[in-house]
């Protein structure tokens, strides 16, 4: 029984969805059927959105569980981090619920979850700068990674370095002052050799996806279910 519930039913669902998705995408047959396919396709993706949204609730509870357990186990060492996480989680959920309540209680005010003033303030003044800061950290990481990686150890590395320098100079205004040819050369590198290198990877990944689909269809791919021997 357990094997049926934990393994066969999920695999059956995946198989049916794969076949349906392919059919919805490629088949037409007649106008009525094609329209019902489009509706069903939209319904499938709506289900995915709904399931994902509910999973977020599970995620929220999981975060709470993790930090409460850590607080109990590790005490003061972990306390400041966990307290901030739990505190902000509760505050954001509270204001979001308030906005949600207002959107029904007073629809004329036009307040929804995302436009609830406190929620919006926290989003724009706490979350957004922190988010942008994390993205900006990449600049530093790219700098230190390139410092370490661009060592001319062999002729191929020299080729890589020269190409990188042309693209870097092409991306800057100073490059244009040094030699106007950097810009068109950068564009050529990006459109010709770069695209040539990217396409096989894209094709390979596409083929890999198709074969993974085949393994899922034939029930040979079981790693996503947890292995059971």
């Amino acid at each position: 029984m357990s094997l049926v519930v934990r393994r066969h039913i999920p695999q059956l669902i995946v198989t049916v969805i794969i076949i349906l998705t392919v059919a919805f995408y490629y088949l037409y047959i007649n106008k009525g059927i094609a329209e019902s396919f489009t509706t069903a396709d939209k319904a499938l993706s709506d289900w995915a959105v709904i399931i994902t949204s509910f999973a977020l609730i599970v995620g929220g509870i999981d975060i709470l569980r993790f930090h409460l357990v850590r607080l109990r186990k590790e005490g003061l060492k972990q306390a400041p981090f966990s307290a901030v996480t739990i505190g902000l989680l509760v505050v954001m959920v509270f204001f979001a619920l308030h906005g949600w309540f207002l959107s029904y209680a007073d629809p004329k005010a036009g307040i929804t979850i995302t436009t609830q003033p406190q929620f919006r303030w926290l989003y724009l003044n706490v979350y957004a700068p922190a988010d942008a800061a994390m993205y900006s950290i990449l600049v530093f990481y790219i700098a230190s990674a390139s410092y370490r990686a661009f060592r001319v150890r062999n002729p191929m590395a020299l080729l890589l370095l020269v190409t990188a320098l042309i693209v870097i100079f092409g991306n800057t205004t100073i490059g244009g002052l040094i030699w106007p040819g950097f810009l068109p050369l950068r564009d050529w590198i990006m459109t010709v050799p770069n695209t040539a290198a990217f396409r096989p990877i894209t094709i390979g990944a596409g083929l890999g996806t198709i074969i993974l689909g085949l393994r899922l269809l034939t029930w040979r791919e079981v790693s996503w279910l947890g292995r059971r021997e």
Binding site: Y28, Y141, A145, I211, V222
Partner: protein, 297 residues
Amino acid sequence: MTYLKISLGVILAVAILVLICVVSGISWLLGIQLYSTRAPFSAFLILLVLLIAGYVFMTEAKSGKEFPVRKIPAFDAIEEAVARSVEMGRPVHMTFGFGTISSAMAPQFIAGLGVLSHVARLCGKYGAKLIATLGVPEAIATTEEIVREGYYSSGRPELYDPTYNVRYLTDQQFAYASAVQATLIRENVGANIVVGPFYAESLIFMEAGNMVNAFQIAGTARETQIPFFVLVADYSFIGEEIFAAGALASGDRETLASIRGQDVGKLLSIILIVLGILLLLGGFKLVDSLNWVWKVG
């Protein structure tokens, strides 16, 4: 008898392909709009050919035929990474990237889960602590199940602690990146294995791993992030190797044989590219014929 059985499977598969072609031909003659106009008909045919080719290889493998698979150094390095972490008394970290399991990135995520099942078993075998972090709430249950299964099947159930082993962080990209970074540094991980659909967070993970001198194995089929992984990681899976890694992890002959299907696809792509170039020299654009959509009337 076995031979007959395989032949039946192959015959059935080829018969389906022939049947589809025949039905398509008849409906074309009758003027029935069988296929949608939103995708070229050639795409559908190529998909079918690849699926059937993969299936044929799988049935052949079932009958005992061996298909050698080239070694993927990054895959072999996983065991070394886990063993090294145990020696240093540091935990092993694994994450899958920001792509979700409910989008077009699902195949890469599943490939990541395949690698996780391998890592979890090795952690059980060597008695290593595993921390799997994720930014996709819909995969929490699956991840917990895989890690649990890994420890249980290696006979070390006592090592499994869901609160410690599996950590859902957040579904926001850079919040996830910063949380993973913090986990890597605070837990002082010995091995950092990242396989899955990665976006801009990839380099943040790699540099954080580098800061704690972790043994790093990385892989993704997302082209834009591959350079970062190749540059910084100790070993990397490039492109579709991550899908092969899942198959290698399973150790199952049939699953491994399916990779042959990928090779058929590659061969087909190369033939089409070369043919396309040759025909273009003669003034004929092959791509126009390949982009032909099924339109009746």
